[in-house]
Every structure is written in C-alpha cells, then in structure tokens.
Amino acid sequence: MPTRNNKTAKEGLWELRLYVAGQTPKSLAAFANLKKICEEHLSGKYTIEIIDLLTNPTLAKGDQILAIPTLVRKLPEPVRKIIGDLSNTERVLVGLDLRPGFAGARRGA
C-alpha cells in the first residue's frame, strides 16, 4: 500500500482508463460524465484512455473487466474500479478518492 506521500508525489499523473463495448448510450454517457468530472476536479493533470472491448477483447482480462462501462484508475495507486455510467457524481468522486476528507476514512475502512 503506497503511502500518502507517494500519492501526493504522483498527484499530477492521473491515468484513467474507461472500458466500453461499442458506442452504446451507457458508454457515451459514461465518457461524457467522466470528462465533466475530470475537467472540474483534475483539470490538466489527467489522461483518459478509452478501450473498446469489441475491438480489443483480450484487454478485458488484464484489468478483470466484467461490467461495462468500467472506469479504472491506474494512477495514482492503488488501482480503483468504478462501474456504471458515472452518472452519480458523488459516488464517482468517492470512488476516485477525490472527495477531500472522505478518502482517509475510506482508506482506514
């Protein structure tokens, strides 16, 4: 488990991966929601990689993807997974550890 210092050191490098399967309404919604959240909270310090499993089915195995859409936070560590179309912003923020003060509580849990 990386320490909080590590995390802060890598604060600038948010690597996000969004797994979708084709251009479904849910996928499109997820991407739009993600974009919005990132712009609001991580402006300028994030990358989003979209992986379409219909074209790259082998990639599903690596990140243990079952649900679509799934957002994987590769960096900063630890890896976190958020499933769904990201329409519940509150929960996305919790999932990404972006809610100040809440992250510590979760980590302790």
Partner: protein
Amino acid sequence: MAKQPARPHPFHLQKCPTGINGLDELTQGGLPRGRPTLVTGSAGSGKTLLALQFLVNGATEYNEPGVFMAFEETGDDLTTNVASLGFDLDGLTKKKKLAIDYVYIERSEIEETGEYDLEGLFVRLGYAIDSIGAKRVVLDTIEVLFGGLPNEGVLRAELRRLFRWLKDKGVTALITGERGETSLTRYGLEEYVADCVILLDHRITDQTSTRRLRIVKYRGSSHGTNEYPFLIDEAGISVLPVTSLGLNYDVPEKRISTGIPRLDAMFGDKGFYKGSSILVSGTAGTGKTTVASHFADAACRKDKRCLYFAFEESPQQITRNMASVGIDLKPWLQKKNLLVRSARPTFYGLERHLLEMTRLIRTFNPEVVVMDPITNLITVGLAADVKSMLTRLVDHLKTREITAFFTSLSSPDGSAEQTDIVVSSLMDTWIVLKDIQAEGERNHGLTIVKSRGMAHSNQLREYRLTANGFHLEDVYLGPQGVLTGAARAALEAEEVAASLARTQEMERQKRQIERKRSVVDAQIAALRADYEAEEEELKKNITEMEARERAAALQRARISSLRKADKEGDCANKK
C-alpha cells in the same frame, strides 16, 4: 465400466457426451447439446471436477474444445489441483483445446456509479469461445458474482441474457452452483438454467463417506432418476449407475466345473452355468473358502483366469491354508492365472470397493471371480447398500459372462440362512454348508438350496475336509434322516457286514446246488451202469440162443442126409 457410445435417442435431442464413466449412461448420451446444464452441490461435492472433466474429455476424446471460466480459483491453482488426476491443462491450453479465464471480482474494490451491464463478461467469454472454436463452456461458479456485484437486479437480468446468449452461441454449457438451504442453488440459478439440473451430494453415514449424484431434471429426455453413488479417485469421477445395465444380457449355455467331482454330479454332472452367480453360505469353519478354492483351482486348471477377492485373509494365508487341504494354488499365482486381492472391507467405502473391483476386473479380465466373504462388507455399509452394490457387481459380471462365486458367513443360530436372504435373490445357485449336530458330534452337510435353470440334487450330503480337499461322503439314510459322522460309519460297517453275510449265504446255496447236481448225476450214472449190465446179459443170451438154433438146424440136416430120405422138398411132402 466400459465406455458406451451415445445411444440414439427417440426425441432427437442431441446429446453432448461427458465422457464420465456412468454419467453418459444415466443421461442416455450426455448433457443436452447446445444448452446450459446446472450442476449444483455443497462445498467439496465435486462440482468443479465434474465440470473440468467434462471439458477435458471433450477436448481429448470428442474433439470439442472448451472454455473454463473460473470465478473461484485462478487458472494456476486449477491446473495444479487437477494435475494429480492426469489432466494436463497447460498442454491442452497450448494446443488450443482449452481456454481458462479467471474472473476475479472483489466488491470492496468496486464503486457503483450508475447504470451498467455485464458486457465485459460477454466479451471475454465470447472471445475465449471464438479463439479456440469452443463447443463447451463451463462457468464455475458464477454465483460468486452475487457477492461481487452490488446490484442484484442488474445481475439477474444479465444472467438471464447470458444463458440465452450461450444457447444462441450453440455451446453446451455447464454452470456450477452452490447448494442452497432450501433451494437447489443459493441464488436460485435453477431459475435460469432449466434444461438439465444435476445434483451432487456428499454424505457421511457411520463415518463412511458416500458421494451421490442425482439428475433432478432433464428437459426433453428420459434419464435415471435415482441417486447414484459416484467416486472421485485418481481417474476423476466415476458414476456407478445401479440399473444402467438392466436385466438384459446374454446367458451362455456352457457349464463350468465346481472343482469337486461329486458336487458336479449334484448339478447334473456338469457343474455351474458359465456367467452365473453362485452363493455358498455357511457358518464359521464349514469350509466355504475351501469350496471357493476348489472352484478357483478348477478354473485355473483349464487355463482360465481367476480373480479372488479376499476380505479376511492375505494371499499368503490362503495359499498356506489351502495347501493343507491339498489345493496347491501357488503355481496358479506364479502363472498369473490366479490373482488374489486382499483388502480389509473397512479400508474404504462400498463404492470404492466396487470401483476397485470393476477396475481390476477390467484390467485382469478374468473368467471367474471369487469374493470371500461378502458378509464382511456389511461392516462397511447397510445391508441395503451392500445389496445394491452387489447387484451392480453381479450385473457387471454377468454382462461380461464372468462366473461369480460368493461366500457368505451365516450366524450359527437358527436363522442361519436368514442373513443371506438379502443377497440370495441375486444368486443363480445357492449352496448351503451347515453344521449337523447329533449324537455328540458336529458334522458338515451340504445342500443345494436352489440352482436356476438346471436339474440338481435335492439330497443333504455329508462332507469332510480331508487332506485331499473337500470330500462328499456317500449317503446313508437312517431312520432319523441322513446319518453323519460316527453314526454313518456304524451304519456303513453294518451294511458291509450284512452284505458279507448275504454273499456267504449265496455262496452256500450255490454250493448246495452243485452238490445236488453231483448226487443226481451219480444216481443217473449208476442206473445207466445197471441198465448197461442187464443189456449186455440179455444180448449175450440172445446170441447164445441164436447159436443154439443154428446148431439144431445143422443137426437136423445131417440126420436127414443119413436116412437118405427125401430131398428137402420131398420130405416136406411126405410129412
């Protein structure tokens, strides 16, 4: 158990053979092809193994590649766990006969943020299926998803879609599920997989474990409905269907010697039917093993193979003991005509015994099988279980035309034959050896209680175990029935004496006749002699008289010539 090809089915429901011993017989060909089958059971009941065996057999025997989607164990764990069964998962994976995908899901790592579906699972499964052209799919255990995903509603909808999708794909799927308290599976998977449901069970009765399998439902096909015991051993799963063989086998007309000539005579001089089942029951020390050894010995003498299961004695002990009654089994053991397999019945459960036996029968391929004694198996299971096991064994032996010889120990009290009733209906021939206690002695008697399909002696015969083996005595009937032991010996002596007296009397009378004849002969000779003497006298007189007559005539002629009388003719005229 021999593997049988899938039988054609009247409903034309295509079957997908599992290649698992016995299961294909129960399902009359295998699982429903192109449809999902649910295998449910409690923890450790062998679900994963059954599923994996289904895939491995498909890949190796039926050229049907398979996908194993593991939700519980990683691919490496799985490979290691089944390597001991001889399943080379790595090799099959390399040959593109098998694809293993480990699905890991951990609820605490997942945040749910809106609508989603399980397309990722579909993509992974679809990719795995397409990459090797899989015909078979195993999902083990998909119920893990219920613990991993928060939204059960979505999950249920997706499962329904998954099973429909699998059907559309045309793959034969096997889904495992954990047994629920009140339902077949904990999360009600049976709701989605309705074509075929197989229930596995693992029970401990009297400290002995028995695994059982039951086909709860099989849509569109008839199937065995009982609970069938099955085994997991180094070859994987073997199901032992109780009635799969049924009562439909060829019966040979050939006969096989009992090894005891006088006993053969009691069976119309020919012995048992080949391929029949024979029970010899008797109390302790009545020579059951000796009779069995005679039978084994006779088979070996005809260069047949005999398999001897001994539940009480070691092979060495049997050979030594039988040598004392003049049966030398050693050469047969050396020639490998005889194989003695000793095992304590309590060593393992009944089903395991049966499996070991059938396996040995398959490899050794004997014509004669001896089990001595079957009563010891009762210590392992209930009488009903023993009977069911023996039924299957007898059926198995009969289909192979193997003559089966069982011995059974009866209790020494009045119900001597009662204990055997359990199994006697399975037996074609039943010989009872019993103690006959009378006049301060204990002797042995043999009777044939039944022998299906042949004339047989109804006599109670006394026998002795001599240095030359089992010896049936001559029959002596006394006023109280058959005489045995000293009473028989006494009567035997009496009969010898009486017979001697009769012979002597006969001799005496013969001699008297001789004497009479010689007396008569002598008398006849005397009479004849008298007669001959008289005849001679008379004849002499006649001759004398004739001579005298001639002399007189001569005299007359001379006188007349002297008188110069007339010639003969004149003289007559002158008279």
